[in-house]
Symmetry: C2
């Protein structure tokens, strides 16, 4: 038997996003750093349109997807779900392995699911330019695509190490008409301050976020657009899991285990939250596993605390697992996972025992990516290889135990722009960048104290 595709029709694209906040017992609010009070729509509209600010704070279970957004989704959605028969055979596992593939979007990952939505609301609000951060470039190129579709300028601060590691992603942003600078840059006070301290700073998602937010705060026609972490971003990604639920129905199966790579958390959230919602409303139970890099292990080694989403401290304070907003992760190739914190919704789900987390090393991830490419044909993004690694490990565990369970993982994007990293891995030149406890402890000593606490 060969790999099987489960394909929905266009009218099965979800009509609303699913908001896990409606089903969670509790979620700690974001706090205004000055007052220590819960952030309000009025606080957020300085950098985003009202609709997104409202979504950020919403506890409604379902939020309608605007028809224009849904129509653009239909260019690549519903995305396919595959049963990885060839991978199963290669592993000799009794496990049934499914993957939901988001790499068919024009930008090559799940990120346009939120990029298109954010560009839509900003365009409606009369905004002319969007500023953002990007790690590997998956998000930056997706927002650039959305900007091209909606006639919005896009300015991307790309983490410096990725800017140099992934020249093709940068070129993709240019091709879509966006501008892209290496971060830390000299274009913002945040960037200049960091460069003054360390001219060789490799950058981080936290730093690039500071630069983008600074731009948005200083220009009424520029807004900030976030690629992950925020509630409304996780919300937009839930089209993934909602589709997967229907596709597994077609397969007459239900996952015992759901696995997603977690950097800022929106990819994992998008796939897993609809399944957790089912469970919280009395449906099937699932084990959800967040796969994160050993070099940047916020979920497995971070502290639960209020912290800034960016390095300079321009965001509201978010309650989350964090390695400290001043932590700068090692230069692993999974640039999209180099983030000090995690989406508060994912953090809360971990605290509530709704999911577990596992840290995996870079070379074992590339090894899994290679196995996957040679069996299933799709070359995965380095971020996605983290989910594949955990899926393979679980499938091998089930083989040892002689048990068949269904595993679903998120294949968030293709690795076409990361083939330089594969080539280095094949040449034996790729090392594991371990966990640096001392650096994390220094960063944790920097955690902010919310006013009034």
């Amino acid at each position: 038997m060969d790999t099987i595709k489960y394909q929905l029709t266009d009218n099965q694209i979800p009509t609303s996003w699913y908001n896990l906040a409606a089903d969670l017992p509790e979620l700690a609010p974001a706090l205004h750093p000055g007052t220590g009070q819960p952030a309000t729509v009025a606080d957020l509209v300085a950098i985003m349109p009202k609709e997104l600010a409202e979504q950020e704070l919403s506890t409604e279970r379902e939020i309608e997807i605007p028809p224009v957004v849904r129509q653009i989704y239909a260019q690549w959605r519903p995305s396919p779900l595959f049963r990885a028969r060839r991978l199963e055979q290669a592993l000799g596992t009794p496990a049934r392995i499914y993957y939901k593939y988001e790499g068919g979007s024009p930008a090559g990952s799940h990120k346009p699911n939120t990029g298109i939505a954010q560009a839509f609301y900003n365009k409606e609000a009369g905004i002319r330019r969007l500023a953002t951060e990007t790690g590997a470039g998956q998000w930056g190129s997706s927002l650039s695509l959305a900007g091209a579709f909606f006639g919005l300028e896009v300015k991307v601060f790309m983490v410096k190490v990725s800017y140099h590691q992934k020249p093709y992603r940068r070129a993709l942003m240019h091709t879509y008409g966006a501008t892209c600078v290496a971060s830390p840059s000299t274009e913002t006070a945040a960037g200049r301050a960091i460069l003054a301290d360390d001219p060789d700073c490799p950058g981080s998602l936290g730093i690039a976020t500071s630069e983008a937010i600074e731009l948005a705060m200083n220009d009424p026609f520029t807004n900030y657009a976030g690629g992950s972490v925020l509630n409304h971003v996780a919300l937009h990604q839930t089209v993934i899991g909602q589709e997967a639920l229907r596709q597994l129905d077609m397969a007459e199966d239900y996952p015992d285990i759901v696995i997603g790579a977690a950097g800022g958390g929106s990819n994992l959230a998008g796939l897993a939250f609809p399944f957790l919602g089912e469970q919280l409303r009395g449906g099937h139970r699932v084990r959800v596993i967040a796969a994160e890099p050993e070099a940047c292990p916020s979920l497995t080694k971070g502290r639960i605390a209020y912290d800034f989403g960016d390095t300079t401290g321009l965001t509201p304070l978010l309650k989350m697992h964090t390695l400290g907003h001043s932590f700068i992760p090692p230069a692993i190739h999974a640039g999209g996972l180099r983030y000090h914190g995690i989406a508060p919704l994912v953090s809360q789900a971990l605290q509530d025992g709704l999911l577990e987390a596992r840290a995996v090393a870079q070379t074992r991830c590339f090894d899994a990516g290679l196995t996957f490419a040679r069996t299933e044909g799709i070359v995965p993004a380095p971020e996605s290889t983290h989910a594949i690694r955990v899926a393979i490990d679980e499938a091998l565990r089930l083989k040892e135990e002689g048990r068949s369970q269904a595993i679903l993982f998120g294949l968030s994007g293709h690795g076409h722009f990361d083939l330089g990293a594969y080539e280095r891995y094949l040449a034996g030149e790729l090392a594991d960048e371990g966990y640096d406890q001392e650096r994390v402890e220094r960063a944790l000593a920097d955690l902010p104290t919310p006013a009034g606490s």
Copy 2:
């Protein structure tokens, strides 16, 4: 109105390939270069399995697709057909523009349609290794993918200039487990002879083909697998046009103009032949336009003659439009179009007035590619930009004439591995490589004389 997708279901994947040879009034046979007699299955089995040799010479209209091949097709087929509404709006044209997108295959182009089929038949025949040429690497990576699926070794001779221009395509082949060397190489007598003459030779598809065939001739467990030109390759690609016919039915439309990029010719053939078949059997008439590079214009400037398919002269003699098998095209980025000849079936269709040809310059193609990426979101391969250029030119002509017609073009692959070329184009560093009449005339003076003629 936004861009619209027309998506078929898996059971609408064609069950047979369509063979234009059945409907053409006449097709000049390939000749054995020694005897001058029509090549037979017995001649061809030296380098390919019997089933493919039979397909090469077949005049059956329909040839069944093996179920295993069709099941693998289903991983990315049926491929989507889009109505390019955003592009139409940007051009302000009354034309209805459709494109059939083949870039969703794991290797990123239409090439796996034949790669999977060829690997299947070779595996069945007990072959252990496939040798082939590749230009830009679309074909080499597709055969590498097929080799990984069927457990066959794959050895790719990659045209030297592309080998250096497109390092990520090379990395993709390695990721699939294939070996890839720059051609001309020192590994074959053909390569060594050419290097002795010109150590800086940039290579060509003709030279790389000679090297691959030499390997196949010298080892009973190695076969040659061709990426274009051959009848059976064009045959396998006809799934594209067959699907497009059904999708245009869904759109309640029929193309007035069908456009495909033409290098070896199989991409154009795959899209256009099923439409030409309809016409030849009394159905709708279509204008078919082959878009070729100005720098390598076999259809618009070549001579109709018997010529070798490769540079050294190892293939049967093929009756086709040719610039001469010793012609080495300039180093344009559309490496897949750098071929001295054209598929005999395409050549015959041009002679029969069934299609027309147009040569386009490199920079105007990249300009069209950029317009397409910013409106439709997909970054096209340099080869595909040739079809886009002609489609846009036709749409603008219709705008001038105030007429609405339906244009269908083939978007044969994405340009994710060609972003270096886009970056160069954006920086104004890309030049047009013109037509070099003197070089062509020198090559034409080299044309072989079939024995007995």
